[in-house]
């Protein structure tokens, strides 16, 4: 197993090198001149040139590339110009924020979507099947920023149930001592229930927004995959052997239907992590999605490169975990593939 993991990681190296080269070239090909942007509103041509020199953008592309890879090898992702901080620190600080939000959103979504999908599959054409169809269609067709704004409007502005959408914590709380970077867990470790409660109440609306959006693919996939498995021979055999319906569905059918669901989950997770920019914007969430987009808007190269690289590494790791999970769920699947 360990050698398999090692082998898989080795295979990932060429694709990571590819990612480094492509992001470097792509960011350089972006329209926009960071030197002019950061030289300020009253900059002359000379001032812009001075900035360009300071940033090292006056050097030939190949030299910039070697300097960049050399820095990367030393764990230095460069500095962001928009926030003024080292990219590595920023990503380390912001990734947990996005991860906490995405994970919670996903957990909520899974808790609703999988039972919904299973029930819809076991009773096709019934009211629950229609409910499943309606929720998934609605969830996927409402843009996330819209759902987010509606939730803020109703639960914060109108009803006042939810705290102000001001990021991860209320203004007057300070973050718990960082262990995992996930405030909920860190607050529990520090046995600080007040902070836990504040962090959780800040999380509810954005996580709900994400959950509504990600319901659809998971529920649909569960339903489709359950339907296929329920129609297969071994389920018929199990039923014919007189096993109780719950044993048939949970032990035999569901376990076999999990594989495509897990794949979908991993896709949804990695997609949400990078793509919940809009949710982050609406809730002033200090995550990496909004960080990358802001950097892109101001043609700030280093964070964009750092972001893409981090996401690439995450993809590789996530795929590895999923493959291992496959093996656990379905012993027929081996890691060789």
């Amino acid at each position: 197993m360990l050698t398999m993991i090692g082998k898989r990681l080795m295979f990932a190296i060429p694709s990571l090198i590819g990612v480094v080269i492509v992001t470097f070239l792509l960011t350089r090909a972006l329209p926009g001149d960071p030197a002019a942007y950061f030289a300020g509103p009253a900059a002359s041509k000379e001032a812009i040139e001075q900035i360009r020199k300071k940033l090292g953008f006056d050097k030939p592309l190949i030299e910039q590339f070697f300097r960049y890879t050399n820095d990367l090898a030393h764990g230095d992702f460069g500095n962001s110009l928009t926030t003024g901080q080292p990219v590595a620190t920023e990503i380390r600080n912001r990734l947990p924020a996005s991860a906490e939000l995405t994970l919670l959103g996903l957990v909520v979504s899974v808790m609703i979507a999988i039972p919904l999908g299973v029930l819809a599959a076991t009773r096709p054409g019934s009211w629950i099947d229609h409910l499943c169809r309606i929720t998934t269609t609605a969830g996927v067709s409402l843009p996330v920023f819209f759902t987010g704004l509606v939730l803020v409007y109703v639960f914060y502005f109108r009803l006042g149930w939810s705290p102000a959408p001001l990021g991860r914590l209320d203004v007057f709380y300070s973050a718990p001592p960082s262990v995992t970077g996930l405030y909920l867990i860190d607050a529990l470790i520090a046995r600080d229930l007040e902070t836990f409660r504040s962090a959780l109440s800040q999380l509810i609306l954005p996580a709900a927004t994400l959950a509504i959006f990600s319901l659809a693919p998971i529920a649909r996939m569960t339903r489709a995959s359950m339907l296929a498995v329920l129609a297969s021979d071994f389920v018929r055999t199990a039923r014919a052997s007189g096993l109780s319906p719950s044993t048939v569905i949970v032990t035999y059918a569901f376990r076999n239907a999990m594989l495509p669901v897990i794949t979908t989950l991993s896709m949804v997770f990695s997609f949400l992590l990078g793509a919940n920019v809009l949710v982050e914007k609406v809730f002033a969430w200090p995550g990496i999605g909004s960080y990358a987009v802001e950097a892109l808007i101001s043609s700030d190269f280093a964070p964009v490169q750092g972001f893409v690289l981090t996401m690439a590494v995450m993809y590789v790791l996530l795929n590895l975990v999923i493959d291992i999970l496959y093996g656990v769920i379905d012993p027929r699947v081996r890691l060789e593939g």
Binding site: G32, A42, S80, L81, T82, G84, F157, G167, R197, A284
Partner: protein, 539 residues
Amino acid sequence: MKRRDFLKSVTGVAAGAMVPAPAIWSAAKADARSETLLIVSESGPNNLDIHGVGTNVPGYEVSWNCYDRLISHEMKSGPGGVPYYDRDKFKPELAEDMNVGDMSVTFKLKKNAKFHDGAPVTAKDVKWSLDRAVSVGGFPTFQMGAGSLTKTEQFVVVDDSTVRIDFAKKDRLTLPDLAVIVPCVVNSELVKKNASEKDPWGLEYTKQQTAGSGAYKVTKWTAGTEVIMERNDAWAGGPLPKVKRVIWRMVPQAGNRRALLERGDADISYDLPNKDFVELKDSGKLNIVSVPYSNGVQYIGMNVKIPPFDNPKVREAVACAIPYQKIMDAVLFGLAKPMFGAAADKATEVAWPQPTKYVTDIAKAKALLAEAGHPNGFETTLSFDLGFAGVNEPLCILVQESLAQIGIKTTINKIPGANWRTELNKKVLPLYTNVFSGWLDYPEYFFIWCYDGKNSIFNTMSYQSKAMDEYIHGAVDAAAIGNTAKYDTDVKGFVDLAFKDIPRIPLYQPYVNVAMQKNVSGYQYWFHRRLDYRTLVKA
């Protein structure tokens, strides 16, 4: 723990989080809230030091409040009774005394002035800081240059608490330029300790923390999320500020900033869309202050090097076809000062900005266009900066519609914020809208930037005229020696010429809009248009 108990406690916690969470938990927290000012805005600083490389505008606000300058401005009553900085009156900040000579100015420093770390502010610090401002390059050096402050030799340490600044030449802008944000005084010993060979001015250090003597100091900064500033109780620059702590949070969504204000959670916000400000004003729940930008104008520019805009008749035709009033009503919701439609017999004033005599007159525009040899119009592009799309986009659509009536077909070209200055610098955009405003509120300052033949980046029209240059330099020289009569003639001269040749069509003077809770008072308008926390009061 028993499983049942555990489940109970978990549901309890979850339910607790759902309850209308009262954010105040204890008396201590309630106190903290009343002594704390919560500001929400779209974006935050990228650097706490204005001398840094590429410090953005929110960074200026930190510098203004956390560092002191030798001198600052007095206040006067401005438009609508809002306290407004007085361009002509200076007050001491770090200096206790200012002595202006013929070719130099001498400052005596306050004896009790101390940096945040307790070190006294000395003449050496002042010299080092000014040396730094003229040496680091980029914007700070450029701004210093605008007041003829360019060489380190100009700053002389007389004794421990006396500094002399020698004038390179007579320039009316030298003193005002010492009161802008850039010439701030930095704790030189502290910064030098944290400087390196590669970074002799310690810019990396001051980027992350404030090292000044100002009324506030940054205690926590999370880039892109929040800045927390605490009052410096030993501040010597003026009366002790009332607000103990300032929390400045970045809330990217304009709708949420408005909701936070309306629910009473945020105390101040100042970059909401005009429509929101008008609605908030009408609702009467908040204090709304609107003040025109000093020395700032939004305009339609035409590149006079690109035909057919090289023909003054074409430019005049465009000026007659701009839907001025529609822009005021539909784009700005009245929150701007019109810079058009002055009465035909109104004499030119010695002031800037001032309105042109142009009004929307499609028939006249058509006639002018025919006269210029384009009876059927022509095709061109109309560009704008997407960074300010909220105003620029509807404005350009209205202009496009109106120009179509005289046969000018325009394609709208949206340029991303990061790219805007690069494009302006190339000077290839034929027709565009843009805004310019100068920190120093002097007509000639605006014209040097925007109309002078040396063709700076803000002379976006590539306009070059001998007569214009003569007027501008005449005014600069007259101001330096105090020749008012000559100054007045020259200012009127360049304003008249700018309106006659009309390479850029002034539209309006934008407003700075600030929304505050009813219990917040003490707002003052400054040339930099950012907040000055030192005078704000939260009742």
